[in-house]
């Protein structure tokens, strides 16, 4: 505006005449004002806003899905010969499979393996939102269930009954049939442990909330996190694999030192 009233040209421009730029500026101001007012007003109708963004996220997720997942899972996530249907698996399954790097699958094999995560947090969220929009399914767990502040003793009992036969009592993992395996649970995030229980990825059975209640799932996570935090009272845990690694250690170092001592005892002194 100052350009209109510059002292250099006070007479050249009368009050009735305005620069052509003035109308443009006026319109811009008007638009800004209305936009700002609308923005301020629409915060009160937050749900409408969220719906709009989630609609956008779903659309984004659909694009990501078509580009990265549809080859195996089908363009409408209906599944194909190479990948199961994802209708109804819910956001939890996507967050687990993509969030741990298992999906997209690197190659065919007995099971999808954990690897470097291929998507950003937002992309995973969009994919999850898209898959969740197809049909109702288990959603991401509430943060209050992931604080690892539950009852570790109860969690340990439930873990021994429901999980330890595959994942090993210390959560170190173990072998299944035909090259499949139950993975090591050390370092797995609380959310991914929870989502795995709810969705039953790959060979793992589903442990729904009627089987193991959300609070009990929290206890199980607490137990696993307790194991991670607490040093093994027995000293070197050797991967917590039980007789396999302990036997190998004893075989090599225990028997090895006995053999060495025997050789030394029976050798002639020089």
């Amino acid at each position: 505006m100052t350009t209109f009233n510059t002292p250099k040209q006070p007479r050249g421009r009368k009050a009735g005449r305005r620069s052509p730029l003035a109308s443009v500026a006026l319109i811009a101001i008007g638009l800004l004002f209305t936009g700002g007012a609308y923005a301020a007003f629409s915060t009160s109708t937050a749900s409408a806003e969220t719906n709009a963004t989630s609609q956008q996220t779903v659309g984004e997720g659909q694009k990501l899905f078509a580009a990265n997942c549809a080859t195996c899972h089908g363009l409408a996530a209906q599944g194909s010969g190479s990948g199961p249907s994802l209708i109804g698996v819910g956001a939890a399954a996507v967050d687990f499979q993509v969030g741990t790097g298992r999906m997209p699958m690197q190659m065919n094999g007995p099971q999808a393996q954990k690897k470097k995560v291929q998507f950003t947090e937002e992309q995973i969220a969009s994919l999850a939102a898209y898959v969740a929009s197809l049909a109702p399914g288990p959603g991401k767990p509430d943060a209050s269930l992931l604080d690892a502040e539950g009852n570790a003793a109860n969690g340990a009992e439930l873990f021994r009954i429901n999980c330890a036969m595959c994942h090993n009592v210390a959560g170190a993992g173990g072998a299944l049939t035909a090259g499949k395996y139950a993975p090591n649970l050390k370092g797995v995030t609380e959310a991914h442990i929870y989502e795995a229980m709810v969705t039953g990825p790959q060979s793992m059975p589903v442990f729904n909330d009627m089987n193991i209640s959300p609070e009990s799932k929290r206890d199980i996570i607490t137990y696993l996190k307790y194991l991670e935090k607490t040093p093994s009272p027995g000293g070197l845990a050797l991967g917590s694999l039980g007789p396999v690694s302990e036997g190998l250690f004893l075989w090599i170092f225990g028997l090895g030192s006995i053999v060495a001592l025997t050789v030394w005892i029976t050798a002639k002194s020089n």
Binding site: E157, L158, I161, N162, M165, C166, G174, L176, T177, A178, K180, A182, G200, Q202, S203, M204, P205, V206, F207, N208, M210, N211, T230, P231, S232, P233, G234, G235, W264, I265, A267, K268, S269, N270
Partner: protein, 357 residues
């Protein structure tokens, strides 16, 4: 050199190739004519400690230093016990306690052992020698004397003559272990046939399936597709006695498959409910809990010896040492929607026993 007094010889006197062959009675054994001759000992080689007095003193120092170290180790173990006590509620303290006591004891014992061996190898006399075994047969004189002693004992005690005393003593010796046999029998199952105990479990018609360990009954609608429930009979958690014994027989794994995935025998069609099947968790091989259920392949794997069971085909054995399929628990749904057993297992669960093969 030190040697015992019967037939120990020094190397110079050893001629072992002939020992024991002369005068042996002719038997059926094949006498090897071209046996490898005993090469005897290699020539004696003096040690450094035999030749060099300073090496000898060095070895002596090493030995007594090791023994002193052993004393230090023992004291260290005692001190470590006091300095690193086990604090309840702190598992880390157990580790330190065990580590330092163990180190002290290791030093104490290893130093004695190594010192003693080193002493024997480097300092004690090292002449090679042979100690022949005693002949097993006594001399004729000894043998005659032994027979005489037996005879005298018989005459003096009268055991051959006084037959009443002898026979009653034999009877008493036979009878005295009998109470032990009877008492030990009392430790075994008394009023029940053990094979009947092994053949039946806690499941009865109408017993609800409950979640291990809480005992919450399970509704059929709770068991979603792909689920695996670890199941105990309702009421097991309230048992006062024999809880583990009952659980050891009655433990069940409950799974839900797509009904079209199940290949059910016609006579067992009614044993499942809408794809929900219940099988004994006790392996028919040696009784480990079989619970490694793979929800995609529907295989059940036993972690002990890798027996695999195919849930879609009534848990038939598809791999491993188990001989029989896992017994199936016939299930149904009661009026409130809870899963119940139709009956006990129709066959004994678990591994073979003397009346089940």
């Amino acid at each position: 050199m030190a040697k015992d007094d019967n037939s120990g010889k020094d190397l110079t006197a050893a001629d072992s190739s002939t020992v024991g062959h002369e005068g042996a009675p002719a038997g059926t054994a094949v006498v090897v004519r071209d046996a490898v001759a005993n090469p005897g000992f290699p020539p004696h080689r003096p040690r450094v400690t035999d030749l060099d007095p300073s090496a000898e003193r060095q070895a002596e120092r090493t030995v007594y230093t090791l023994f002193y170290l052993s004393i230090v180790g023992s004291v260290f173990a005692i001190v470590a016990y006091m300095v690193f006590p086990i604090i309840p509620e702190d598992p880390g303290s157990v580790r330190l306690n065990n580590l330092f006591i163990g180190l002290g004891l290791t030093l104490a014992l290893m130093a004695i052992g190594i010192g003693a061996v080193h002493w024997g190898k480097a300092l004690m006399f090292d002449h090679e020698g042979i100690d022949e075994r005693h002949p097993v047969r006594g001399t004729d004189e000894t043998r005659t004397r032994a027979v005489e002693i037996f005879h005298e004992a018989n005459v003096e005690s009268g055991i051959g003559r006084r037959s009443l005393i002898r026979n009653s003593l034999i009877g008493a010796l036979i009878a005295f272990p009998l109470p032990a046999v009877v008492l030990f029998r009392g430790l075994g199952p008394m009023d029940t046939n053990p094979s009947a105990l092994l053949s039946h479990t806690m499941w009865k018609a109408g017993t609800r399936l409950a979640i291990d360990p809480t005992g919450t009954p399970i509704k059929a609608s709770d068991v979603t597709l792909g689920s695996a429930f670890h199941v105990i009979p309702e009421g097991l958690q309230d048992l006062e006695h024999g809880k583990l014994e009952e659980k050891g027989k009655a433990a069940v794994l409950l799974m839900r498959l797509k009904p079209e995935d199940l290949n059910e025998l016609p006579e067992r069609k009614g044993w499942s409910y809408d794809g929900i099947v219940a099988y004994s968790k006790i392996c028919t091989h040696v009784g480990c809990p079989v619970a490694l259920y793979e929800q995609q392949t529907h295989n059940l794997l036993c972690p002990c010896h890798q027996s695999q069971f195919d849930v879609t085909n009534h848990c038939e054995v598809i791999f491993g040492p188990a001989k029989r399929p896992l017994p199936q628990l016939p299930i149904a749904v009661d009026s409130e929607g809870y899963l119940i057993a139709q009956s006990d297992f129709t066959e004994p669960v678990g591994p073979s026993f003397w009346e089940r093969h």
